[in-house]
Symmetry: C2
Subunit: 242 residues, 2 copies
Amino acid sequence: MPTSDTPVRSIERALDIMDCFQPDRLELSLTEIATGIELAMSTTSRIVATLEKRHYLSRNPDTQRYSLGSRISQIGALGLSNMDLRRVALPFMKELNALYNEGVSLYIERDNERICIERVESTLPLRRVINVGDRHPLTRGAAGRVLLAYMPADRRQALLSEDPFTTEESLAELRHGGYTVSLGEREEGVTSIAAPIQDAQCAVIAALSMSGPSVRFEGSGFSDKIAKVKRCAELISNALGR
Amino acid sequence: MPTSDTPVRSIERALDIMDCFQPDRLELSLTEIATGIELAMSTTSRIVATLEKRHYLSRNPDTQRYSLGSRISQIGALGLSNMDLRRVALPFMKELNALYNEGVSLYIERDNERICIERVESTLPLRRVINVGDRHPLTRGAAGRVLLAYMPADRRQALLSEDPFTTEESLAELRHGGYTVSLGEREEGVTSIAAPIQDAQCAVIAALSMSGPSVRFEGSGFSDKIAKVKRCAELISNALGR
DNA sequence: GCTATCATTCCACTTGGTGGAACATAGTCA
DNA sequence: TGACTATGTTCCACCAAGTGGAATGATAGC
């Protein structure tokens, strides 16, 4: 944190209020909250009302007591699913990046597209630039194909009918081989290798991809790169509890 | 919200910042945040620094970009597991309460004790008062016995060796019958009937209990009450996806 | 080396945020 | 049934917390 600054007091007080709620103190009265954070009732009331308005707290109409609101669950779900996945995956991604100095990225499926949620870039001047938050179709590109391969069949078929670039045969092959390769499908001159990442229930929740200029992927080292990408995805899956 | 009050502006701004993060915008620069909430860079920097200090946001040291912090996951988990269970259970609990006008409560296990996370009280003057947040042992009382019965055997045996009031035989009987009864075990003159609540994976995650003065539980209607408590617990389990 | 952009720090200004007091409501008890 | 207590709401005078513009620093790209 910037050294010259001090935290915003009102915001700290609001966070103090949210921190009052614990596994054994899921519901609190206004007085309990005020006592817990050692503030005047009027001050507490105003801050609590602000949090309630924004659904960070909710008030039980029967007991008039407060508990954490639905917005907490929403942003918590946002944090839990993707934050932990990214945090677990990042060290492995960095290792893979260090091996070849090529871009390594992590994709999940959202709204029938894939989204990059983490990436480690190449430091070489010629590189495939990828940004966290970038959205791409599922039907084109190696990482998209991985996510597509493990989708429910009806959803997959709907997407393939819209863009029949990939076939069910090649997706079956992917599931069998545990990886796929894209040669310039989305970007001319770019090669990508992608493999599935599984969670503790063996569900495919993400795709790991390594990509870069095709000129650097040609030659005898290609199958070594494939093996390393698959291995990296396996290591991430194991770290997630598979 | 109290009508005369206005929300605390600084707090709303902090919440606005947290609301900037979306499934496809997991990581944002300071400028992106400032643009998103239409505030000066200096103001944004100060608010962001406050949230970062409290781990509601975290800064990627490599990219200098922000994402939701670990504290979000923590309080989100607090909300998700118990909030949803309570919300799902409450309508059924109210129905059971309306049938007999006796106290109905919901318990989960935490740290080898049971905690009340929701309750609907009787309106009769003579009633067994129960408060959300109350903690009780697992070895005494109907709801505790339910949670005990479905614990891992080693943990259960450790608790039974400390307080051998209940036996493995009676717990086996409970598992077979799907309910248990307490006649004044924790409170003289109080009777409780409890049944297990299961989640989508059939794991017992909570105990439903109906309790009140023993004088109102005596007589021919008792087995009717038992059946209704079991049924209520089943309905809740089904609503949770079992 | 220069430029543009992003981020940090500083500080004068003002109004947002404060808490005490008054008031309202509900529950308890003799 | 009235007095008392506890909880929660509303009001408002006061002041310092919070603000944003300006200056400065850092970094990346050309």
